[in-house]
Assembly symmetry: C2
Amino acid sequence: MNIYPELLKTLIEYFRKLPGIGEKTAERYALALIDLDEDDLESFASSINQIKKELKTCEICGHLTDKRKCYICDDETRNQNLICVVEDYKSVFMFEKTAKFNGVYHVLNGLISPIDGVNPDDLNINSLVKRCDKLENAELILALKPNIEGDTTTLYIKKILEDKDIKITRLSNGIPMGADIEYIDILTLERALSDRKEIV
Amino acid sequence: MNIYPELLKTLIEYFRKLPGIGEKTAERYALALIDLDEDDLESFASSINQIKKELKTCEICGHLTDKRKCYICDDETRNQNLICVVEDYKSVFMFEKTAKFNGVYHVLNGLISPIDGVNPDDLNINSLVKRCDKLENAELILALKPNIEGDTTTLYIKKILEDKDIKITRLSNGIPMGADIEYIDILTLERALSDRKEIV
């Protein structure tokens, strides 16, 4: 069915490339753009155009930034000896939203996955090791996905750093806050049971 | 909380201007843009930039088009004596999706609403009257929203065309297909009852 002008069809196509957007929603967004005023459209378009030019990765931690160093690595009030190791910059944004973490990050840019051909050398692991060499009494929190790739990466990092004087921790697993035990998967429930904590 | 680079914040802001997009979804879309490749981003941006330049309204019916005449008015196989009068181009797209209507359209570009200061002169009603003058045995289907503004506009158009030899109809109201009678609003149910049709 060819009911849309070419330009609208193109816009619908691009909206569909965004996560979770189906045909109907993409149409709705494309049509909604028409109602924006010209200035908004121009500045929206130029922002999209700038993405690859303006956004780069922090030379220290690999997080997304528009400067050489991200604002986190640049912040002297943060504990540079406490490094939270994450899969990607999306995780950084999530942790930053909690506003409870006063350390810094290291963005691996993926997880080890031999099946998908992702080896340790493809990730920012070497830079992590180099970073650790300069630290004393440091702690590394490995905050990776609790699946095979995440566990493999966690074990790999633990192994290559075992000679160094670094404390390595991982996030706790267990029942999400507010969740109904009835609906928790068995693996999580097992973990919550074996990792149970004493009430003090 | 200022965890995003400026450019991302701008993008999030623009996504929020689209209908039904909240903070979290806007963030998700903005971050997803980063994963698109540069060509896609450039062509997405340039499409957005072209909207106001390329899309105009059909000189006959007022529908959205990238030509002087829309493909519907330009289609000689369609019945030019059967005009479906709609509030905006979004309605045209909806009717076109049914692929069941072989007439043409007239886009009013709004509904009469004295409260909001929208008078008949602000709408494409004069062009509708002129269009009707050239027709014989025509039918006008007033497919406007079933609310005060829609009804006012319907009555107004019926009145100014009453001297002309034009059949004026409206869409049927009633229970939506597949809907549960339990959950239908009372007004719709009343209308469905009074507009009941004999089973033949």
